[in-house]
């Protein structure tokens, strides 16, 4: 039972992680598009 809850929690976290990753990536894309972030080098 405890294992089940732990797995469900991990699964829930993995999904919210996806949400955060997409959210942050979109914010970065908007900043680049608006010219706030320019010429990001490598």
């Amino acid at each position: 039972m405890a294992g089940e809850t732990k797995a469900a929690e991990k699964q829930r976290r993995a999904l919210s992680l996806d949400g955060w990753a997409v959210g942050i990536a979109l914010v970065l894309a908007v900043l680049v598009r608006l010219g706030v972030l320019k010429h990001v080098g490598w």
Partner: protein, 361 residues
């Protein structure tokens, strides 16, 4: 009143506290990643200055090796662990941003090729791993977890399946350890084989994306070959990840029937819950790039942001591998996993080489 004020005060502190807890680990990821990048640059400068002919070792490998060295010698202190665990967040952010380098037409064309290969790979690898599990007398649920882990997307698929089939923690740990160990091995075997066979960046990328289990290792195996190969590896691996819901649903239904339990409720809801949402983010950025929302310079900036995110991911790949911990899990699941991986790598290699003769990749 006092207690309600305390509650009101306590709430906003939670998030900054959680973010603060991530800082040491993220700092370590950054240092290891930058050290890898600096090593690549200084070795390349030195060899050029001394006219030495030495193959260039990419920052990817250096970052992984430095991480491995730290993790398996001095070890990683507890204070760094929450931040190191963010490597998966950086991986997904990097994949979404990389969408800017794909035109949607390319995604659909290559995605269709990848999807066909992935479907064949799924059927063959699940069948083969199930057979191996039976031969080696592993528990049926551990066999299911190993089959899902090696055929789809490593750790995430194992965690999703574990919940769906009600497998033990121990079985899941065994399967995860085997998949991680084999992913680490793939980093050192796939690139030399690719070079030995003279594979093009696109063909190799497709192989890394369909043959390597865990997403981080698949991207790293691609990046170790070339930037172009990493790009294709990401696309193929993302296609594979998108199949996770269907396979987990299949296993959930199978185990529910076998154990006489009630199967999942709404199948559509189940599929949506298991679908990796970052794939949608990748497609959205790719759509925006295809509609010329970003100019050339902006696409280049987004691609570089993606590379920075991957730099932290690769550092995390090395830092989380601990050979001592893996040894504790026992050798049998590892042998089953290793045998399965060799066969799956050979199958996917054959599929990719065959597809490259039929379709222009």
């Amino acid at each position: 009143m006092a207690s309600s004020t305390a509650v009101l005060r306590a709430e906003p502190i939670q998030l900054p506290k959680r973010l603060l807890a991530l800082l040491p680990g993220v700092g370590l990821l950054t240092i290891v990643g930058l050290a890898g990048k600096a090593l690549e640059k200084s070795i390349s400068t030195y060899t050029k200055a001394h006219h030495l002919v030495v193959p260039n070792i990419e920052y990817v490998l250096w970052a992984i090796l430095i991480g491995l060295l730290i993790s398996n010698t001095v070890g990683v202190a507890g204070v760094f662990k929450p931040g190191i665990a963010t490597y998966e967040f950086w991986l997904k952010t990097g994949i979404v941003l990389l969408g800017a380098r794909f035109l949607l037409a390319d995604v659909l064309r290559l995605g269709a090729v990848s999807l066909t290969l992935v479907l064949i790979e799924l059927i063959l690898s699940i069948g083969f791993m199930t057979l191996l599990g039976r031969i080696f007398k592993l528990s049926p649920k551990l066999t299911s977890l190993l089959a899902v882990g090696s055929s789809i997307c490593g750790v995430s698929a194992i965690i999703a399946t574990k919940g769906a089939i009600e497998a033990d923690d121990e079985d899941a740990s065994f399967a995860i350890a085997a998949i991680l160990a084999l992913g680490a091995l793939a980093l050192f075997t796939f690139p030399p084989i690719g070079h030995w066979l003279g594979m093009s960046d696109r063909v190799y990328g497709l192989w890394a994306g369909t043959g390597v289990d865990n997403t981080a290792e698949a991207v790293a195996a691609g990046a170790l070959y070339s930037d172009a190969a990493a790009k294709i590896a990401v696309l193929a691996k993302t296609t594979r990840n998108a199949m996770i819901g269907f396979v987990v649903l299949g296993y959930a239904l199978y185990w529910a029937a076998r154990e006489g339990r009630q199967a999942v409720g709404s199948k559509a809801t189940f599929l949506w819950q298991k679908f990796p949402k970052f794939v949608l983010g990748f497609l959205l950025i790719s759509l925006l790039a295809s509609l010329s929302v970003f100019n050339k310079d902006q696409v280049s900036s987004l691609a570089n942001l993606s590379r920075w995110a991957f730099l932290l991911t690769f550092a995390g790949v090395g830092l989380r591998i601990n050979f001592k911990e893996m040894k504790k899990q026992g050798i049998r699941p590892f042998i089953v996993g290793a045998l399965g991986e060799v066969v799956i790598a050979a199958i996917t290699l054959g599929l990719v080489l065959g597809a490259s003769k039929i379709v222009k990749l």
